[in-house]
């Protein structure tokens, strides 16, 4: 799976949990989920669960702690897919 496909899949997941006042265009690789995209910690859990389903991977508590930005999420997805 190439990077762009992964990024678009991730964006489609994030989109669902964006608050009303944040547009999809605000999502960049550097976006911080909580401080920039205004996603709360409860919805961040839902994003992780959707990512697990979409990519058929499993994240641990450590991964969750490291997942601050969209790029972090992609790095984690890559590592998990690699390890499969």
């Amino acid at each position: 799976m190439n990077e762009e496909i992964k990024y678009n899949k991730l964006k489609a997941i994030i989109k669902v949990y964006l608050p009303d006042d944040v547009s999809v265009d605000a999502i960049t690789l550097h976006s911080n989920f909580i401080s920039e995209l205004n996603i709360n910690s409860a919805n961040l859990v839902d994003i992780v669960l959707d990512v697990e389903d979409e990519f058929d991977i499993m994240l641990e508590n450590d991964d969750m702690d490291k997942m601050q930005t969209v790029q972090d999420a992609l790095t984690i997805i890559d590592a998990k897919l690699e390890a499969k």
Binding site: N40, S41, A42, V45, V48, L49, N61
Partner: protein, 150 residues
């Protein structure tokens, strides 16, 4: 079985404690009861001269029995529970209300875990009245966090 080790850790007190007794607690769910006393403060205003238990109170009762009690149990099992040091917050609810609950009615809440991941507990909850009729049902999620400053 006595579930005092769970109920004693609930962070609520009167007039906002909506758990009387836990009947059953296991890995994937919990069953508990509560009787809405006619002396409860909200009956004075909901409604004028026609007391009915507000839906938010039914939701709160479902959340305290179905999500918070189950969450305390799961955290205790994992060894992650810190007495007096828990921060909890309701993060989402989606409820349907089917029958009114009158003052002094005893209700039974049955909750099933949908998932407990990354400190978020999401449950499917149902509340039945003493006739066994479904009063309300829905899904409630809450976040549990150990307070590092405790």
């Amino acid at each position: 079985m006595n579930y005092y080790h769970i109920t004693s850790q609930l962070p609520y007190t009167e007039p906002f404690l909506f758990v009387d007794e836990l009947i059953e607690v296991y890995e994937n769910g919990v069953v508990g009861t509560y009787s809405f006393s006619e002396d409860s403060y909200f009956y004075k205003g909901h409604f004028k001269n026609a007391p009915v238990t507000p839906g938010v109170m039914l939701t709160e009762c479902c959340a305290q029995i179905g999500v918070v009690c189950l969450g305390i149990h799961l955290l205790q099992k994992e060894g992650d529970f810190t007495p007096n040091g828990m921060q909890i917050g309701m993060s989402s609810t989606q409820m349907e209300f089917l029958l009114p609950v009158k003052p002094n009615e005893k209700v039974t809440v049955t909750s099933e875990k949908i998932y407990f991941r990354f400190n978020k507990l999401k449950c499917s909850v149902k509340m039945h009245n003493s006739d066994g009729k479904l009063v309300c049902k829905g899904e409630i999620s809450g976040m549990f966090k150990a307070d590092v400053h405790a």
